[in-house]
């Protein structure tokens, strides 16, 4: 099997994940896109492990670690999403702009009025 196949698949998955992260509005879908990107990385790890065959299965081990990390990440991420929902009544990442530069908004408002 050519090595390029899993690598290309990983690239595709990663970029789809990037698209999802950049374009989706719902915070939960953002998290799902992150999972896709992590999976792409895992795929790379496993593919290179199969290619190198170092006997220690380093790639696979790291892939397992990454899966664990992903579990931790989604746990925390979902908790944050819940907090957001509790605070704002929605989980729209586009509308969550609490970190906006205050003066700039005021000026923009002033200019609009």
């Amino acid at each position: 099997m050519p090595l390029i196949l899993p690598l290309l698949l990983a690239v595709l998955l990663f970029c789809i994940g990037v698209y999802g992260v950049l374009a989706r509005r719902n915070a939960i879908t953002l998290l799902m896109s992150f999972e896709l990107m992590l999976n792409a990385v895992n795929l790379n790890l496993v593919a290179f492990d199969a290619w190198r065959l170092d006997g220690l299965a380093t790639g696979q081990t790291l892939a397992v670690f990454v899966i664990t990390l992903a579990a931790a990440e989604i746990g925390l991420g979902l908790a944050i999403v819940l907090l957001l929902f509790r605070g704002h009544g929605h989980v729209d990442a586009d509308a969550a702009r609490d970190l906006v530069e205050q003066d700039a908004t005021e000026q923009r408002k002033g200019a609009a009025t």
């Binding site: 690239v11 990037v18 496993v46 397992v64 990390l69 931790a72 989604i74 979902l78 819940l82």
Partner: protein, 164 residues
């Protein structure tokens, strides 16, 4: 044989993940994520990383997606199609993603275009287990602490404040 299997699983994964990021129904997207992750697990299998594939199914499909579904329910996600689920930036985002894909793809093809993979078919569970508890034991322990921290963090975050 494995190549064919990989190709099929890969195609399924790509199609499913595209649906995940484009579907207008959130719940559908979550369910298609199951398909995508499962297909990736299939890919792992095709690469003879059975242990990883199993962990993938167990943890991802079994735990994470369930968690996601719970979160959807808790945030009262509607099941009907939402036209606003994708923001106005999507064409731009697509362009960037395509550019990135082109870039990475070119790089990968140029670097590894002629390499072959010959996976060892006799399973990897033993090797992984040995590696985890011999070579990687310290990171493994750190990871467990991290998980614990994430657990506590998630609890702390999702707790309501007293005055609420």
């Amino acid at each position: 044989m494995t190549t064919a299997l990989f190709c099929v699983a890969g195609a399924v994964a790509v199609v499913a993940s595209v649906i995940v990021v484009t579907s207008r129904r959130i719940v559908h997207a979550a369910l298609w994520l199951v398909v995508a992750l499962g297909a990736v697990a299939g890919c792992f299998g095709a690469l003879h990383a059975e242990f990883v594939a199993l962990v993938q199914i167990l943890v991802y499909v079994g735990a994470i997606v369930v968690l996601v579904l719970f979160a959807l329910m808790l945030t009262k996600a509607p099941t009907n199609p939402l036209p606003t689920l994708t923001s106005g930036r999507s064409p731009f985002a697509a362009a960037i993603a395509a550019a990135l894909a082109l870039l990475l793809g070119t790089g990968v093809v140029l670097a590894f275009g002629n390499e072959k993979v010959d996976p060892v078919p006799d399973g990897s569970a033993e090797a992984v287990g040995t590696a985890v508890f011999k070579t990687w034991v310290l990171p493994f322990e750190v990871l467990s602490v991290l998980l614990l921290a994430a657990l506590i963090g998630a609890i702390a975050l999702s707790q309501r404040k007293k005055e609420d």
